[in-house]
């Protein structure tokens, strides 16, 4: 338990039996009232957002959330199946809120996952990841307009908007949060 006044951004809290990440925190002092802290929280299981106002003197429970490495095995209706790289224990991470991340994951590859008590609840992807372009139309000859773009498909099946000069077989760097093209990877 900690005092709400001591809550920091980036901390994990247990509220209504759910693990939440503190994404925004600000203090408010109404004219002649006690001090409050206003929080914006992200549910680590569902990705949904919660806004909460607490008295700074209130006690809140922290959620024991930690990272570990796990190999992504496969995906089915139950979720993303992963295996702890050290203990070989298997977990299923529910898909809710993680759909975009799922589109960037390659079977067999190892990722950081977030654990809350005994459950795997989230996948932490690097901000930028490199992918091979598997499908791309050829650039139309003579189309030299600066900033012209086209849609290509990367190895995981995800579509990404890229500059017109990108060809199938090339590798590109993609921002995993915005799903936007960053740059071409030259090997």
């Amino acid at each position: 338990m900690i005092k709400a006044g001591a809550i920091e951004k980036g901390q994990c809290l247990l509220m209504k039996d759910q693990p939440y990440l503190v994404t925004e925190r600000d203090f408010v002092n109404p004219g002649k009232g006690s001090a409050f802290v206003k929080l914006k929280l992200k549910n680590l299981r569902t990705g949904s957002t919660l806004r909460e106002t607490l008295k700074t003197a209130d006690s809140v429970e922290t959620a024991d959330v930690f990272d570990k490495d796990a190999q992504f095995l496969y995906e089915d209706d139950a979720g993303y199946h992963v295996m702890d790289s050290e203990s070989y224990e298997q977990y299923v991470i529910p898909k809710e809120g993680l759909e975009q991340k799922g589109r960037f994951m390659r079977e067999g590859e190892t990722y950081r996952i977030k654990m809350w008590e005994q459950d795997a609840i989230d996948i932490v992807l690097p901000m930028k990841m490199a992918f091979e372009v598997t499908e791309a139309e050829d650039a139309i000859k003579g189309d030299t307009v600066t900033g012209a773009t086209k849609i290509v498909v990367i190895e995981t099946g995800m579509s990404v908007k890229v500059p017109i000069f990108i060809k199938a077989g090339e590798k590109i760097l993609v921002n995993t949060e915005t799903a936007e093209y960053v740059e071409r990877v030259n090997e």
Binding site: G5, A6, R25, D26, F27, V28, N29, P30, G31, K32, G33, S34, A35, F36, V37, K38, R51, E52, T53, K55, T56, A57, D58
Partner: protein, 349 residues
């Protein structure tokens, strides 16, 4: 602080002083260190000590200059204003808080809170006009600040945004249940004042018009302050906040708070000048302070007696100057408009 903002700030300080001086307010400078403070339950203070040979005297950094200015009023200086640093302790470092901040406090004699509101309206107009061409000026922020001030009673604002009529919920329990029904998560031990604060923070403030200044007026008497009960000046009666706490009748005090650009900027009263009421306020706040576990400090022993001599009716207002800087320059974080915010100094990035 960007150089342009520093120039804007210097201009703002100049214009604030010019505005009050031109209207016959005397600028005064009072001590930052005091051996005692007006007790305010919700304020935590900074303590230090004065060392003498063989002994020491506890001293406190003032959370507002009210202690001094109210003693000056009966001494015949006329209208007063002061611009200076004030200090509030505890976890108040955020986008709109720095433990050390600049406050403008004014006292207008033979005036009530609505006359102070008119004065503040004129002040905003004057500042926006004078600073329009200053370096660092933000045209849209100045335009917003120079719109006519919208005035809404607290009761109407709460009713409009939450559907709750404060006058119908006199008891802790009743207001708690109404707030829960309106969708707020309220603790079972939260008292009327806490629930009221939550309604204001979560349901009223986020929905106040963002394109002009808004004054919320006529606060519930249950919020303990040194403001006079509504109509007390006219009727001469002083219903005590304790009677109001009984919850049978909704009573208000002559107080307004001004919001601009999402910031709570000014707090203003028709000042309580009845010594008996001031003694009761002291006792109430000291008791609350103890029950909340706040650090103890001495209170000025003769302060209520100051009001036993002939004391003019007056209105006092206090404004956060750093927040005004934020509102006039369109900045969202206080550390952009002050030099060396404490959080930046303590936790360099």
């Amino acid at each position: 602080m960007e150089p342009n903002l520093a120039r804007f700030r210097a201009g703002l300080m100049r214009e604030l002083r010019a505005f009050f001086s031109d209207r016959d307010f005397l600028e005064v400078e009072t001590p930052r260190l005091a051996p005692y403070l007006i007790p305010e339950a919700h304020l935590e203070v900074f303590s230090t000590e004065y060392l003498r040979t063989g002994s020491s005297v506890p001293l406190y950094l003032i959370p507002s200059p009210e202690l001094w200015l109210k003693q000056l009023i009966p001494r015949g200086y006329g209208n007063l204003f002061e611009i200076g640093k004030c200090f509030r302790n505890e976890e108040q470092m955020g986008s709109a808080h720095n433990p050390e901040f600049t406050m403008l406090e004014w006292y207008m004699l033979n005036a009530d809170y609505l006359q102070s509101l008119q004065l503040f309206t004129d002040l905003l107009q004057a500042l926006c006009g004078a600073l329009a061409d200053s370096p660092g000026a933000d045209a849209s922020s100045l335009r917003r600040a120079s719109q006519p001030i919208e005035t809404v009673t607290v009761r109407d604002a709460v009713r409009d945004h939450s559907g709750i009529d404060l006058a119908e919920h006199g008891s802790d329990d009743s207001l708690r249940r109404a707030a829960q029904q309106a969708g707020l998560s309220i603790g079972q031990d939260d008292d009327w004042n806490t629930v009221f604060d939550r309604l204001m923070l979560d349901m009223v403030e986020p929905h106040l018009p963002a394109d002009r200044p808004v004054a919320l007026i006529d606060y519930p008497a249950r919020v303990s302050t040194l403001a006079t009960p509504s109509g007390a000046n006219a009727a001469g009666g002083f219903p005590s906040p304790d009677t109001a706490a009984g919850g049978l009748e909704y009573q208000t005090v002559e107080r307004w708070e001004l919001y601009l650009a999402g910031l709570e900027l000014v707090n203003c009263y028709s000042e309580e000048i009845d010594p008996g009421q001031i003694r009761e306020f002291f006792a109430r706040e000291q008791q609350k302070k103890r029950s909340m576990g706040r650090s103890e400090h001495a209170v000025p022993p003769d302060f209520p007696a100051v009001f036993e001599q002939p004391y003019p009716r007056c209105s006092g207002g206090a404004m956060g100057v750093d927040r005004l800087m934020m509102a006039l320059t369109g900045r969202k974080r206080m550390n952009e408009v002050i030099f060396f915010s404490l959080s930046d100094t303590l936790f360099p990035r």
